[in-house]
Symmetry: C2
Subunit: 367 residues, 2 copies
Amino acid sequence: MVPFYGRHQAGIATPQQSNVMFASLDVTDASRDELRGLLRYWTGAAARMTRGVAAVEGGGRPTRPPWDTGEALGLGPSQLTVTFGVGPSLFTSDGVDRFGLGSQRPAALADLPRFSTDELDPSLSGGDLCIQACADDEQVAFHAVRELVRLGHGLVTVRWSQAAFLPRVEPGATPRNLLGFKDGTDNIRGDDRTALDRFVWAGAESPAWMRGGSYLVARRIEFLLDRWDGSSLQEQEATFGRRKVSGAPFGGRAEHDLIDLRAGGTDAIPANAHVRLAAPATNSSQRILRRPYSFVDRGAGSQLPAGLLFLAYQRDPRRQFVPIQRRLSASDALNEYIRHTGSAVFAVFPGVRRGQALGGTLLAGSA
Amino acid sequence: MVPFYGRHQAGIATPQQSNVMFASLDVTDASRDELRGLLRYWTGAAARMTRGVAAVEGGGRPTRPPWDTGEALGLGPSQLTVTFGVGPSLFTSDGVDRFGLGSQRPAALADLPRFSTDELDPSLSGGDLCIQACADDEQVAFHAVRELVRLGHGLVTVRWSQAAFLPRVEPGATPRNLLGFKDGTDNIRGDDRTALDRFVWAGAESPAWMRGGSYLVARRIEFLLDRWDGSSLQEQEATFGRRKVSGAPFGGRAEHDLIDLRAGGTDAIPANAHVRLAAPATNSSQRILRRPYSFVDRGAGSQLPAGLLFLAYQRDPRRQFVPIQRRLSASDALNEYIRHTGSAVFAVFPGVRRGQALGGTLLAGSA
């Protein structure tokens, strides 16, 4: 099991599990006090579920709904992590400061700009709150979100949700995405405290309630598989700037070989290759902690609908995700094969100690 | 790995893996000869993929699309099984005998009748062909279907598809569905040859090309989770006729205890309980081999869309699934909490020996 309590929430720098159930929620009818109560309730329920026990303590009466929906009974902790955040619309929505929190909104929690390649579906974007449940069993991840939504009945509703997965690779190996490529090889490691402090954890520039938290950008990226599958191996490799089978960058022999952006001749990484445009060297040395999962949606039509739920944690999206995505959006060769159809940004709370509630500092006092 | 060749196709009586990718396809533009060629091609590709190697042999040229889409590279066989069948519409569609196969249509491959509770979406129902890929890795199952669809480019298109999963339980344990209940406890075992011959494998009553095959009924069953989660433990247990936590039938103490339909008093199984109506004793001793998987769809709205992809194999749906579903449809207490939104029936070919092609006997000769 992954410990729930700590300086940072689990599910950010902790190892990626095989499955995620991600839900964005809207607060439909709650006061600030009720919201604080819900987050306290959720904190306890999440801590319990990560230990592999029912979300709510106690037996329940047979004449009442069961105290736990039950589908995760007997499955154990399965490395469950449950991670909570709040979106820009919780602070200000249509100019209204709904909960008297407007002055506490972090500057880093800015609405994302529109990128030139965006084809966003509003019903798959945004949200007042988010829950990211990751586990090594899809049913355990689903159960966690379902229980929390149920506990918030009458206060919150699901705005959009996405289940996604990784292939079962050896620990440390980079999973392939559904385009068949290894991507995200050069990610920030969960034990690299220097990089985490520099690029992931909110510091003194964020309001007190966010210090030790992080900012999550969630993007739903659909893959145009038919088009991709019709492109040549040459085109595919030039699109990423990597070899398909080995995962090696152009000019390298193995996956983890250095990406040499200055190489010429046959080793040259094309100007619009994904690895070049996403590389820290191209982006003022900025890095983001990526936690991406593949998805396969129900299909009804002539496509197999599949893609990537791109989840990325960072200290300030205005200096990290936004400029990187502006660059990708302007010239990434991959754009021909993908569509960004969902987008959201959240301020993900710092961790808590036993007895504390997530969001307690933010929601303290009355509106 | 699970052997591909044999008297029966793998993926029917072989142990259930953790994931399924199910696709129903339509033949858009193919002659009988082309269809036979495609099935030969598919047979070889499926046999290769179940061994954990690329669908198509050979290296490919960099100026051509890769010989394999690549996302399953390095993942090994993962117990992959790939199972193929043909739907009624392949034989006759709008009164037209499309491939000169009309006279070979098995009587057992009848269109399913409309059941009183059906709320079918035509875009999630029917199909000329089906591919069921099961594996212990979602990416491996997805890859198999994607490769086969790609190999059929120009001849077939996907009509509907569904990825689904099971929780990771101990071997032999019954997985819980997303209503939190153990269901399907009394399934036909893969090593019970007597029951398989009696209830699952097509015999002399089927045309020669189907002997040793089976008939698959696929139903997409959505769960109304909000309504279910608002019902009391008592109601839930009475709906199934089982205890939620132990899985024991009313009157029993453990999951595998006998379902006593004649018990009275507090042990009585209600008249409209799911276990009573689905029990062989209620259905002229008929049984079906169930291979159900749970699904969680992308959500955009106030529900978490989830349910069951019910896959059931049998010797003759007219004497097995149809009367059972008529009974369930008329009075199953579960109907209040579920909706059947997709439906299809397929004749699933018998197995083949190395060198033979699936459907070879059916498609031999010219139209």
